[in-house]
């Protein structure tokens, strides 16, 4: 369970998160939508401790992420994240990209890591690209590789930060299909996204962020068809 309580976060004088409360249960899929600068991506990097927070608390399975005593490296094995920019490691082949962390962080043998990598890459439909360098892959393929790389650590939670925003429109579908598959397998997911149709389809709840505040959160049918807050109505009207 991820429990976020009254989280505030500033970059210099700019407050990007103004007291966020959100609880995500095991097996739940929550999508976060909202305009750019609404703080939704920042929240994800705070959840796995890549960015410090100013106040409030984030607990993952009861462990305080931002406590001094927390071993973040260990905690991050539990929480996978995939970014908008897929960040393939260019000096490693596809399979090496996926094997690296299981070998070096989890200390698995080469054979064990290879087994996991082959399985995960097959899962995201890249079984025929194992020995290829990322520069030979399309953006969509690289993004799926990044997802496999995160999954290879067998995380219990997955955070997706606008994973389709940097892709050509033609390639968005294949990545969303991968996310749908994960959701159907019961992965706990928080997806920051601009894909409204996708959010409506896979989410248990959808949150609308506006200027650092979570303006509204509800099951998709409710939020998309009968938004309560005027900001939400305005945002949805503009995106449709």
């Amino acid at each position: 369970m991820i429990e976020i309580q009254n989280v505030r976060k500033s970059f210099g004088p700019l407050e990007v998160l103004k007291g966020i409360d959100l609880t995500v249960d095991k097996g739940e899929v929550v999508s976060i939508i909202g305009g750019s600068g609404s703080g939704k991506s920042t929240l994800l990097t705070c959840i796995n401790g890549l960015e410090p927070i100013n106040s409030g608390s984030i607990r993952i399975d009861g462990v305080e992420v931002h406590a001094k005593s927390t071993n973040l490296d260990k905690l991050r094995r539990k929480v996978g994240i995939v970014f908008q920019q897929w960040n393939a490691f260019p000096h490693l082949t596809v399979i090496e990209n996926v094997m690296l962390a299981p070998r070096k962080v989890l200390g698995l043998s080469k054979r064990e890591a290879e087994e996991i990598a082959v399985k995960q890459l097959g899962h995201v439909g890249l079984a025929d690209k194992l020995k290829v360098y990322p520069s030979r892959l399309s953006g969509g393929q690289q993004q799926r590789m990044a997802i496999a790389r995160a999954l290879a650590m067998s995380p219990e939670y997955m955070l997706f930060d606008e994973v389709t925003s940097a892709l050509d429109p033609m390639l968005v579908g294949e990545v969303l299909d991968t996310l749908r598959m994960l959701a159907s397998e019961g992965m706990t997911m928080i997806c920051v996204t601009h894909e409204m149709k996708f959010a409506r389809e896979v989410s248990d709840r959808v949150a609308f962020f506006h200027q650092g505040v979570m303006a509204e959160i509800a099951p998709p049918a409710e939020l998309f068809d009968a938004p309560k807050r005027p900001e939400t109505q305005k945002f949805l009207a503009a995106t449709h």
Binding site: R77, F83, F89, A101
Partner: protein, 221 residues
Amino acid sequence: MFGYTFRWNQALQALPQMLDGALVTLQVAILSMVIGLALAIMLTLFRRSDSRILRGFAVAWVEVARNTPALFQIYMAHFGLGNFGIHLSPFAALLAGIAFNNAGYLAENFRGALKAIPETQARAGRSLGMGSLQAFRLIVLPQMLRIAFLPMTNQMVWAILMTSLGVTVGMNTDLAGITQELNARSFRTFEFFAIAAVIYYLIAKAVTLGARLVARRLFRY
């Protein structure tokens, strides 16, 4: 012509001796490069660290290495350290001086190379549970060495050329040192040094060529 008779035979007879010297030259250059590389990586980490002292130390090293003559740096190792009761042999002084110089220039090359690697690469590593040193070693370092490979090759050629400075602190086993000794005995200066020049040239070209082949094998992405 010119009233000077070239005596190449005499000089060529000394070729085996000079080639032995060339091996020492290569040895010093390679050692200085290995040590310099390790030091440069250390300096790069210092420059990225949060400690002001470590950052200052690294910057001072790099700037002194780049803004004073290599020969000065070798003199410092040979004569200057005497003040602390450290008396380095010509070999050690030469090695120390060149390694110091290599480290400074390589660290500067690495700084440039790092600018070309997005911050998000290390971040991606961290998000997979790697520690910051681990992310540097496994993800940033290999890419940095690739980008800086050509400057590193140039520095290796420089290191070979710099080894010749050993003769000024009494080094007499490397190519320049042996050539100088032969010259002092026979006074066939031009012949001996011309042969030495050819050998240096061939070593430098071989290194450049070899590096190109290595790069092709190593960097296939």
